[in-house]
């Protein structure tokens, strides 16, 4: 902080923080207000909107749906994405590998609305619109490229000779994956899975296309009630999503930064 340049950097950083984070945080006091309005600051404090979130069946079921869909789609994405990242190593020619990798990353690049329209017309045809499977597959589509990316990053420092060594010691392909490959790529695998979970939890665009009145998710309900009335239950739901994603993200970053533990062997 000795030079004025430093001060300028800090000021810019502070401005960015205010601009990016503070508006997000406004939902927290709003969700704690006692009036059925979005007024800030609230005139009084209460937990009624949280009670509403838990007790009102529509909010409760969609929240449950969101958690279930997020969990299942994250698991799907982690299995498929890890398999893809591991399989990508088998390409002998790097040009082929990069083509396939880029194809896998398309869902990250293509505007989500385009992807959603495409999936919608496809799902309509095969009867997946409005189903749990439809939601899980649609969200997993978005999660797979994230898992591929984080697992590929984990594999960058992975010595393929370790798998040969495991084979020479008598471990078949599954045992090698379980005892050697997966433990060593676990940080990337978990981080990718958690990112996929978050992506599904707050997904709106895809969900809008796939939802039906019978099966919907929390962000969809928030969106529709927001356009209908000003119900601070939305703020309460937003706060819950905010906290969940923050906790999950912090967990992911901690996992990524942590070293794997050492398994101890038998000794006299």
């Amino acid at each position: 902080m000795r030079r004025p340049g430093r001060l300028l950097v800090w000021a810019a950083a502070l401005f960015a923080v205010l601009l990016l984070i503070v508006p997000t945080l406004i939902v927290i006091p709003v969700s704690l207000g006692d009036q059925a309005s979005f007024r800030f600051p609230p005139s009084g404090w209460s937990l009624r909107w949280y009670r509403q979130l838990v007790e009102e069946p529509a909010w409760r079921t969609t929240f449950g749906n969101s958690l279930l869909i997020a969990t299942l789609s994250a698991l799907t994405a982690s299995v498929v994405g890890t398999a893809a990242a591991l399989g990508l190593r088998r390409f002998l020619r790097s040009i082929n590998r990069e083509v396939v990798r880029s194809t896998l990353l398309i869902p990250l690049i293509v505007p989500e609305i385009v992807l959603a329209v495409g999936l919608y017309s496809f799902f309509l045809k095969i009867g997946l619109v409005g189903t749990l499977t439809g939601f899980v597959l649609a969200h997993a589509t978005l999660g797979i490229p994230l898992v591929v990316t984080t697992v590929t990053a984990s594999l960058a420092g992975f010595d393929p000779n370790l798998e040969r060594a495991a084979a020479s010691l008598g471990a078949g392909p599954w045992m090698t994956a379980r005892r050697v490959t997966v433990p060593l790529i676990l940080p990337g695998l978990l981080a990718g899975t958690l990112f996929a979970f978050i992506l599904s939890l707050d997904n709106l665009v895809m969900s809008l296309f796939i939802q039906t009145p019978d099966l919907s998710t929390l962000p969809v309900l928030m969106w529709s009630s927001m356009t209908r009335d000003t119900d601070p239950t939305i703020a309460a739901a937003a706060t819950v999503i905010l906290l969940t994603t923050t906790v999950v993200l912090c967990a992911a970053l901690t996992i990524l930064g942590r070293r794997t533990t050492t398994e101890r062997g038998p000794l006299l």
Binding site: A165, A167, S168, E263, R264, P266
Partner: protein, 374 residues
């Protein structure tokens, strides 16, 4: 390994092995029989097929043709994890998430050996490689030499009948390598497994092996003991790859008294024979050559040469020569025998007929880039 020494070496038979990558034939018709308990080195320049042969033997790659038998059992189509061989890798390939004992015990665990036996065998293997008490270290906490010992302990812990080693000492510095060579010899004696060892370092090959198979361009050029290869090379490649050599080239001639090599006006007697008229060379090891100012008597083969250079090397003195065909040759003489020749002299180099090896003209080994023969 002393009491439980069920681990006896198994015989290995490679027959007509072939492995191709696109148009490149990495291993071409390799046939090699290895005795139980033998220490055989696959030696050759990089890209000569020795590591691919080892990978085929380990099951990491599939042969395009040929047969691999270990202990009389055909393993050609058996996956790597069912071959029950021990493999030591150049870069150690220790599992970083397991401690030393878990690394060494990995193979035992795959074999469903009970914990008590596992504990005993892991401890024993660590003792064999002189790492007792290091069991709970992480591989990353060990030096390169120690990591290589762990890799060795991991490969011998389940007492496999065959140990495969791919340049296991390549990443160690000279001094550590010399020390590990002695250790490897001791461990080989104790364990009794058949060892197939890959290296490009001819000194290492000579120091360790019962027999050496020299690879060149995917095929085995010659198999034999170090003495066989050094004293009785069968090709120009072997003669120039292993150790130093001086080659006098000429044309083969026959008459009633035997076979000769015509070099300019000189006719040199040679042991062995080749078809008359063929281009050939007589290879003589530099320490078996003698330099003299005057033409030696008829009991030795001799040619006139130019002395180019003299290098003093402590116990020996090395002379570089210009041979009649323009190529260079070497003479090594003990510093105690002071020949009177000096660089720039016209002189004679001579050898006993039986010290010369007649070889057909053929491919020479590329000069070794890294440090090798003394």
């Amino acid at each position: 390994m002393n009491d439980s020494s069920a681990a006896r070496g198994a015989a290995i038979d490679l027959t007509g092995l072939r492995r191709q990558y696109g148009p490149v034939v990495a291993v071409d018709d390799v046939t090699l029989s290895i005795e139980p308990g033998e220490f055989v080195t696959l030696l050759g320049p990089s890209g000569s097929g020795k590591t691919t042969t080892l990978n085929l033997l380990a099951g990491f790659e599939k042969p395009d043709a040929g047969r691999i038998e270990v202990g009389g059992v055909d393993l050609s189509r058996t996956p790597a994890h069912e071959r029950n061989l021990g493999v030591v890798f150049q870069n150690y390939a220790l599992f970083p998430h397991l401690d030393v004992a878990a690394n060494v015990g990995f193979g035992l665990r795959q074999r469903n050996i009970d914990r008590a036996t596992r504990t005993r065998l892991v401890t024993q293997a660590l003792e064999t490689v002189d790492l007792a008490g290091m069991g709970h270290r992480r591989p990353s906490q060990l030096s390169g030499g120690q990591q290589q010992r762990v890799a060795l302990a991991r490969a011998i812990a389940y007492q496999p009948p065959v140990l495969l080693m791919d340049e296991p000492l390549g990443a160690l510095d000279r001094k550590l390598r010399d020390q590990m060579q002695l250790e490897l010899r001791r461990i080989h004696r104790e364990v009794g497994s058949t060892v197939v060892f890959v290296t490009h370092d001819q000194e290492e090959a000579l120091a360790l092996s019962d027999r050496i198979a020299v690879f060149n361009r995917g095929h085995i050029e010659q198999v034999g003991t170090g003495i066989d290869l050094y004293e009785r090379p069968e090709t120009m490649f072997i003669a120039t790859f292993l150790g130093e050599s001086t080659i006098v080239r000429g044309t083969v001639e026959h008459d009633t008294r035997g076979t000769f090599l015509a070099v300019g006006s000189a006719r040199l007697r040679v042991a062995g024979t080749l078809p008359a008229g063929s281009r050939a060379g007589v290879m003589v090891r530099p320490e078996r050559l003698i330099l003299s100012k005057d033409q030696p008597d008829d009991s030795r083969e001799a040619i006139e040469i130019d002395v180019l250079e003299e290098v003093y090397l402590g116990s020996t003195r090395k002379f570089a020569l210009r041979l009649p065909d323009g190529t260079e040759g070497l003479v090594r003489e003990a510093v105690t025998t002071a020949s009177a020749v000096r660089p720039g002299d016209r002189a004679w180099v001579s050898w006993r007929t039986t010290d010369g090896v007649l070889l057909p003209e053929g491919e020479l080994a590329a000069p070794d880039e890294d440090e090798s023969a003394p």
